[in-house]
């Protein structure tokens, strides 16, 4: 056994990040480590690489107990991690980066450039990376930089390598290169822990899969004996649905009750980089459509591309029957499309400003005359929405940061609503708010649909999406892979679709048929 943990325990304050985690990695093996956010994957990586110390349990390397007090010590012993963020020097050459700190020398002082470039070339060729080692690292794509990071740690003597979400930054071609690198590592007898949210990749690459949930191992099996359905169920914590996997997918093509209502949002063949792939979907007036998908399935990217915050590479978006010709947020707002970002702190609130300013941020021209903002119209608007959404604030001039998370979120929802949209898109509207506020947000969302708006919503909790929406559109790796009416169903059915993955891939976007 190359690397092994026995009964690892780690707590951060009151949070038990890892509970009795036993995990092992063999030489020449690719071992997938999976789990949703907060499952404990990063904590485990931090313990393995000496960034944190375990509170209990042990780590064994080659069968001997080890204790790393720093990533450097772990690296010296042969355990290294390659993270999403590259920690190389972008302004230096590929060869410089590969040999940073251990350059081949001449007479002990001068760097032997020629030899360094030659050795770098050999190293790259070994992993079938056709890159000129003299190129500046920055000129390569992020994905290639990541592959060079891998080459570097292995050439430094790492025998157990942890790839933390290696493909979240890779393009399609780069993913193929990564597969080549991984195959070579396997042949070299290097053990690989592969952390990724992309199921198809894990199934293609990994020999074994271990699933963490809430800090504990909930499944650990050879890939061949762990079907997708059970894997997803284990990740989300609903093992019992595994058996009924294809049951729900069969129901994917039924239409909802209000097919006669006008279309509020129509998306056709929308694409953005590799993250949103030919997405088509429709939302009718009065309908709440849930966007379901695992983490990394492209939910947020889809929202942002529809909204025009990311420039689509192709496809069209129409709101209330009118096409948005030049996709950008200001144009979307003008056409009646509103959007609530999942990232309240950095993409939502203006922390330095008041409740009133935050609430009216998207409608300033409408409450102005000749460029001068009308205090009266602003305060009227604020009063109306504070009342109707039940925002608890000391007053309109109170700083937004003095409000609780739930109330801040209501202010942001109000910001979206006061643009008087025909269609609202809510990306995880209940993230980070307490249970009571959650229920109120649900009430608001249902109210919007009842007033005839189209709503497209998602959540990091599958149960919530199912509970809230009339109909689901299932997203997997940037593609629409299925649809489902949610009336009278629970999340188990949806899980089956998510788990079905490839099985339901060819189902057309629901609603597009009508």
């Amino acid at each position: 056994m190359l690397l092994e943990t026995r009964g690892l325990v780690k707590t951060f304050g009151p949070v038990r990040a890892l509970r009795d985690v036993s995990f092992d990695l063999q030489a020449g093996e690719v071992h997938g480590l999976m789990g949703e956010n907060g499952a404990g994957k990063s904590t485990l990586i931090k313990l393995l690489t000496g960034l944190n110390r375990p509170d209990g349990g042990s780590i064994l390397l080659d069968g001997r107990p080890v204790s790393f007090d720093s990533p450097r010590a772990a690296q010296a012993a042969g355990v290294a991690a390659v993270y999403q963020e590259i920690n190389l020097i972008p302004e230096r050459s590929v060869a410089d980066n590969l040999f940073l700190g251990r350059e081949p020398r001449r007479f002990g002082v001068l760097v032997d450039r020629a030899r360094m470039v030659e050795e770098a070339r050999a190293l790259l060729r070994r992993y079938r990376l056709e890159i000129d080692p003299r190129r500046t690292l920055r000129t390569l794509g992020l994905g290639l930089q990541q592959l060079i990071s891998i080459a570097r740690v292995v050439s430094l003597g790492a025998r157990a390598v942890i790839l933390d979400e290696p493909t979240s930054a890779l393009s399609g071609a780069e993913v193929e290169l990564l597969y080549g690198v991984v195959e070579q590592l396997r042949r070299d007898g290097i053990g690989l822990i592969y952390v990724s949210h992309r199921l198809s990749e894990c199934y293609r690459l990994c020999d074994r899969l271990t699933v963490l949930r809430d800090g504990a191992v909930v499944a650990s099996e050879p890939t061949a004996s762990l079907p997708r359905a059970r894997l997803v169920a284990a990740m989300l914590g609903r093992e019992q649905v595994a058996a009924q996997k294809d049951h729900a997918a069969a129901h994917g093509a039924q239409d909802g009750p209000d097919t006669e209502a006008a279309v509020a949002l129509a998306v056709e063949d929308l694409s953005w980089r590799h993250r949103v792939r030919n997405v088509s979907l429709q939302v009718r007036r009065g309908e709440i459509v849930g966007l379901a998908g695992l983490l990394g399935s492209g939910r947020t990217e889809t929202f942002k591309t529809i909204y025009g915050a990311e420039k689509p590479d192709g496809g069209t978006v129409s709101v209330a029957g009118r096409r948005i010709a030049s996709p950008r947020p200001s144009e979307s707002i003008r056409r009646g499309l509103a959007f609530l970002s999942e990232d309240r702190r950095s993409e939502g609130v203006f922390a330095q400003l008041s409740v009133a300013e935050n609430l009216t941020a998207a409608v300033l021209p409408r409450i102005s005359r000749f460029g001068v903002i009308s205090r009266r119209r602003r305060d009227d608007m604020v009063r109306r929405y504070v009342q109707s959404l039940g925002v608890k604030a000391a007053g309109p001039d109170a700083p937004i940061t003095s409000l609780s998370g739930g109330n801040q979120q209501k202010v942001l929802i109000a910001r979206a609503l006061c643009t008087e949209p025909d269609m609202v898109m809510l990306d995880d509207p209940t993230r980070g708010i307490d249970v009571g506020a959650k229920a109120e947000v649900h009430r608001v969302v249902r109210g919007l649909a009842a007033e005839g708006l189209g709503v497209l919503v998602t959540s990091s909790e599958l149960e919530e999406v199912v509970e809230l929406s009339d109909r689901l559109v299932v997203l997997d790796e940037g593609r629409v892979t299925g649809g489902l009416d949610t009336a009278g169903r629970d999340s188990d059915d949806v899980l089956a679709i998510l788990a079905g993955g490839a099985a339901g891939t060819n189902a057309p976007a629901h609603g597009a048929a009508s």
Binding site: A309, P329, S341, G348, Q352, E357, A362, P399, T401
Partner: protein
């Protein structure tokens, strides 16, 4: 703000109240001393000078201080708006010099024209800076640094390194001398513009957009704000004000001089804005605080001179004073 100090009036109203600052509550009056430190420091310094500094009570002193302050107020206003967008404008001192050079070149064709030329070249510089920041996404620190070097160089080239003396009569010398009731006209113009500026920042779309962009550029984009247009406006306005400041400084000097006008003024403008309550982190701005920041620095300079402090030591003391003022402000809104 229910503060009894003048800070509550023109100071940015939309800014949240400081949370947990050191407060003194008297009935319904609640004052955060740290947020008001610029006013406190100004009053303390003036009191000190009245008691100690020889000749400070002479009414001509206030007149000459206001002449000094007028151009600095203008560029500090532009600066505070740039800082409010989480940017900076290092070019203002050099743009003043370029404005001065334009006056020197065109003054023979008529003084009104020369004033217009000075202001116009300032606006042009500001718009160029704004386009670099907004369209090419160059960091404001870099683009305005480039302009700092280029505008000064161009100004010196235009005048061939020489000083061009202005005629004794006409509107420009009048600007440099007229002071009804001991208050210089340029100071009155600067204060009126400061009031207009406060209105623009508090109540108009471009002013509000500037602060939204400074508070969170991503959130502003998602809220549909015209982010790039706003940045172009902000730097254009800063350039325009610097152009006018160049006119004032040239009028006061009585000559166009590319080597003298506006040297290191950008540093005083930044210091005044920040001391006055416009944090470098953006999203917030205090117009009145900026004006008082300028007055504080001008009085400070005068205090050193009038007490015969060696100019080198005066620089060090001034730096220490600025650091002290910022220290008092830490954590305040």
């Amino acid at each position: 703000m229910t503060a009894a100090v003048p800070g509550g009036r023109i100071a940015e109203r939309g800014a949240p109240q400081p949370a947990g600052g050191r407060r003194l509550s008297i009935g319904r009056l609640s004052i955060d001393w740290r947020a008001q430190s610029v006013y406190v420091a100004f009053v303390a310094l003036v009191a000190f000078d009245l008691l100690v500094t020889p000749g400070f009570r002479n009414p001509t002193v206030i007149r000459s201080l206001l002449f000094e302050a007028a151009p600095l107020i203008l560029i500090a206003l532009g600066q505070s708006l740039a800082i409010g967008t989480r940017g900076i404008d290092l070019s203002v001192g050099s743009v003043m010099a370029l404005s001065s050079a334009m006056i020197g070149l065109t003054v023979d064709a008529g003084q009104g024209l020369a004033i217009g030329a000075g202001i116009a070249v300032g606006l042009a510089c500001g718009v160029l800076n704004g386009l670099l920041v907004a369209l090419l996404r160059i960091a404001p620190l870099i683009s305005s640094l480039a302009l700092l070097v280029a505008a000064r160089g161009l100004a010196q080239a235009l005048l061939g390194g020489a000083r061009v003396d202005l005629p004794f009569g006409g509107p420009i010398p009048a600007l440099g001398q007229m002071a009804p009731l001991g208050i210089p006209v340029v100071a009155i113009v600067s204060l009126l513009l400061a009031a207009a500026f406060a209105f623009v920042v508090r109540r108009t779309l471009p002013g509000r957009y500037a602060l939204f962009v400074g508070a969170s550029r991503t959130a502003a984009t998602l809220a549909g704000h015209p982010v790039r247009l706003t940045l172009a406006f902000v730097y254009g306005l800063s350039g325009l004000l610097a152009g006018l400041a160049g006119v004032f400084a040239t009028a006061r000097l009585g000559a166009a001089d590319a080597n003298y006008i506006g040297v290191q003024f950008e540093l005083d403008a930044i210091a005044a804005a920040v001391i006055g309550g416009t944090p470098l982190s953006g999203g917030r701005i205090s117009t009145l605080g900026t004006v008082f920041g300028v007055l504080l620095l001008v009085v400070l300079d005068a205090s050193f001179i009038m007490n015969n402090v060696n100019a080198n030591y005066a620089q060090i003391l001034k730096a220490a004073f600025i650091v002290g003022a910022l220290y008092l402000r830490r954590g305040a809104a």
